[in-house]
């Protein structure tokens, strides 16, 4: 009976879920897409992924230990997730030094300058990606043609993405049906047989990861479904109105970074709204901006920009979109 009793306020038990488990859950969910990337882009995908993950973790370690002088928090797994997502958002032939610069911007600037995990207003991986897109436009828009381990690394044969072909074709006055002759079939795109950033191509693998995230309750359906539904409806209206100038909704769903963005990037806890209502508004915003950029913007693809723009709206959404307070507007009887 010499036990020393702990005294603390209730509750006296905590759920087994931890930040670390959530982060590693996301890593597991990204594995099918990673496998698909390696299948399509071979050694380039491996080099890009390893470089990105290692440099993101290293940057976080160095910044927290030597600049912020706090206990490095790399074990929480968030730097690994950012590293993976950054790799997924760049072409598989991107040179190592460019990836390292991307990692320094993503973790060093977009995350740590705001105080580290939980405080960054913008998705770090996307900030890194957009920085690279603006700074290295040539390297960031050369897309290796998927041919497995024959693809090579920086010496890969490159081609255009389906969205690039669409954007260029429409600008040159071609009809959508003529452009569709030049791009892979919808089925090929679903499995990922097309040019693009290394992790975004395989919609099938990304959806498997998304189902895992939903099953493990790491994310809720609100953000991905509202983004995908908005894109479907918006592009569907355009397509029905003018099928000569606008591509069909399925094409838009399967191309570019939409699946990766909707399932993995927009659902980042830190930079997305706290309430379900807010999440739906946020998702609709991302969907609308994506379609606007894809059809009328200077870039063929707009998911990254759409998410970053809506990231900026999140504090407002959190301030004005509140959960329904119990007993506030009572309508009894």
């Amino acid at each position: 009976m010499n036990n020393i009793l702990n005294v603390s306020p209730s509750p006296h038990q905590q759920s087994p879920e931890t930040t670390r488990k959530l982060m590693y859950g996301v890593v597991i969910a990204l594995l099918p897409a990673l496998a698909a990337s390696i299948y399509y882009f071979g050694v380039g995908a491996i080099i890009v992924t390893l470089t990105s993950v290692l440099s993101c973790v290293a940057v976080e370690y160095v910044v927290s230990k030597y600049i912020l002088k706090v206990k490095p928090s790399i074990s929480d797994g968030s730097a690994i997730v950012t590293g993976l997502l950054l790799a997924f958002n760049v072409p598989s032939n991107l040179p190592v030094h460019v990836i390292v610069i991307g990692a320094i911007i993503a973790i060093g600037v977009a995350k740590m300058t705001f105080g580290g995990l939980g405080n960054n207003p913008f998705n770090p991986a996307l900030v890194g990606r957009v920085f690279l897109l603006i700074s290295f436009p040539v390297q960031m828009t050369s897309w290796p043609v998927p041919s497995g381990f024959k693809t090579g690394y920086t010496d890969a044969v490159t081609g255009a993405t389906p969205l690039g072909l669409l954007s260029e074709g429409v600008r040159n006055g071609e009809t959508v049906s003529a452009i569709m002759e030049k791009v892979p079939s919808h089925m090929q795109m679903f499995y990922g047989y097309m040019g693009g950033s290394m992790g975004e191509v395989a919609a099938a693998a990304l959806i498997i990861g998304g189902i895992y995230l939903l099953w493990k309750k790491i994310i809720t359906w609100h953000i991905p479904v509202s983004i995908l539904l908005t894109v479907t409806v918006f592009t569907g209206i355009l397509w029905l109105a003018n099928p000569v100038k606008f591509a069909d909704p399925l094409f838009h769903l399967l191309t570019g970074g939409l699946m990766l963005g909707a399932i993995f990037m927009a659902t980042d806890y830190v930079t997305s709204p706290m309430t379900h209502k807010g999440m739906i508004i946020y998702g609709i915003g991302i969907g609308v901006i994506t379609v606007l950029i894809r059809n009328w913007g200077a870039y063929p693809e707009g998911v990254s920009f759409a998410i970053l723009i809506m990231n900026a709206v999140v504090p407002l959404l959190n301030m004005y979109i509140k959960p329904r307070r119990f007993g506030k507007e009572v309508k009894n009887g």
Binding site: L5, H12, M274, N332
Partner: protein, 444 residues
């Protein structure tokens, strides 16, 4: 068929280790310590003196005013001393200590086991009897029962809900009571209905107690107006507002009481105590307490006299395991940790849980990742992360505007937080501060 409240809620592991353990009568201790304040309201005033002989059931401290409750001697023997002792809350308060000698009950108490179904008393007599017998809510909040049975002028009550939810993990005292004292609980329900002038009563029971649901459903056919409502398992369904919402769909307004929607909620244990008081003239001198924990060798449900040291209860459950790191009075979600086990069982003690040392420590606190799980878990539709942050920064007006006073401190937010942030600690600080500031505004 299974109803629940729609918003928020969590599913902590059940851990109802003592569900199959029948209620065992605990032998009398050699000394009891009976605090004069075991209820919400003014402490009772001791009416016995040192050295005086007392009998079981005799009043030893009289209620001070309306919002208070009588305290009766749970044993017979001699008053050893009346002095300040530490109670389960950790505060010092006046208590009557009695050395136990035999077990002589006062004659007016009917100690036979015969079940009395017919309620002979009038409304006024019932309320008076509950007041005399020192009844207080047995669910943990210990609000004097006679006040809850008195409908204030201008209010109307048309439904009684009996709380058999027992949504706290580990605890099984209410469950066992429903199984073993079904007719008594139902008669107690009928008495409460009569006191409030109500035709209808619903007994809400969660689906993890199918035996209790079946048992009471069958028995309730003989009790006019009483029905059993099975509920989906979800914490905090035992919260009054959540239980009313689950059973009726009615929503108690923010800052309001159940009577604002015409409902009075009473705990199963209270219904049983009402039966004993009204039908048997027995004051509240004993209660069922679950003593449990993963390392406890003989966990069980014990019928104990008020004032029995918690140490005695733990001995009855096989002694304190070597790995014990925390002892909680009440459930794991809302109970209070005890600094020492040498404190008495009171009217509100529903369980004693012994946690092994590895579960007694909180996990390391990580930064908030803004996942929103706390808001999704909050059954009151609050934003715990925001309230905690406002409290942490002393932003009291912000906390008040965001309805911090609606928080019932169920702990679902702190439980669910993956970053293990002490959300409820900060919210409690904010809530008490906001309430104090509000009181000061009124008195100015």
């Amino acid at each position: 068929m299974f109803k629940t409240f729609p918003q928020g809620g969590i599913h902590p592991p059940d851990n109802k280790l003592t569900v199959d353990k029948p209620i065992v009568v605990l032998p009398l201790p050699s000394q009891v310590t009976v605090p004069v304040s075991q209820h919400i309201g003014a402490p009772a005033t001791p009416v016995v003196e040192k050295g005086e002989a007392v009998m079981t059931g005799q009043i030893i401290a009289r209620a001070k005013g309306f919002v208070s409750a009588n305290i009766h001697s749970p044993v017979s023997g001699k008053v050893n001393k009346i002095e300040l002792v530490t109670d389960t809350t950790g505060y010092k308060q006046m208590a009557v200590m009695i050395d136990v000698e035999g077990d002589e009950w006062i004659e007016t108490i009917d100690r036979t086991v015969t079940f009395v179904k017919e309620v002979a008393m009038t409304r006024e007599q019932i309320i008076e009897r509950c007041q005399l017998c020192g009844l207080a809510g047995m669910g943990g909040a210990t609000f004097p029962t006679h006040i809850k049975l008195t409908v204030p002028a201008g209010k109307k009550c048309d439904l009684v809900i009996i709380n058999g939810v027992e949504c706290e993990p580990y605890l099984t005292s209410d469950h066992r009571l429903m199984l073993e004292k079904g007719p008594e609980v139902l008669t107690g329900t009928t008495i409460i209905m009569k006191a409030l002038g109500v035709e209808k009563a619903i007994i809400g029971i969660e689906a993890n107690k199918p035996d209790a649901i079946n048992h009471l459903t069958v028995l309730s056919k003989d009790f006019k107006g009483v029905t059993v409502q099975p509920l989906k398992v979800k914490y905090p369904q035992g919260g009054e507002k959540q239980l009313i919402k689950a059973c009726t769909g009615l929503e108690v307004p923010s800052g309001g009481l159940p009577l604002d929607v015409g409902v009075v909620v009473q705990n199963v244990g209270t219904a049983f105590a009402v039966y004993e008081a009204v039908q048997k003239n027995k004051p509240l001198i004993e209660r069922v307490v679950t003593v449990t924990g993963k390392s406890v060798s003989n966990p069980g449900n014990f019928l104990v006299r008020i004032g029995t040291p918690v140490t005695r209860l733990i001995e009855a459950a096989g002694g304190m395991p070597d790995d014990t790191g925390k002892v909680v009075n009440g459930g794991p979600m809302m109970g209070k940790a005890l600094a020492m086990t040498d404190v008495p069982v009171t009217k509100g003690t529903s369980g004693i849980i012994l946690f092994p040392a590895e579960e007694a420590q909180r996990s390391e606190v990580m930064p908030c990742i803004r996942c929103g799980k706390c808001s999704s878990a909050c059954a009151m539709g609050l934003e715990p992360y925001l309230l905690a942050a406002a409290s942490e920064r002393s932003m009291w007006e912000k906390a008040e505007k965001e309805k911090i006073t609606d928080c019932m401190e169920c702990g679902a937010c702190s439980y669910t937080c993956p970053a293990k942030r002490p959300l409820l600690d900060y919210i409690r600080l904010g809530k008490t501060t906001v309430m104090r500031l509000a009181r000061e505004r009124i008195t100015k």
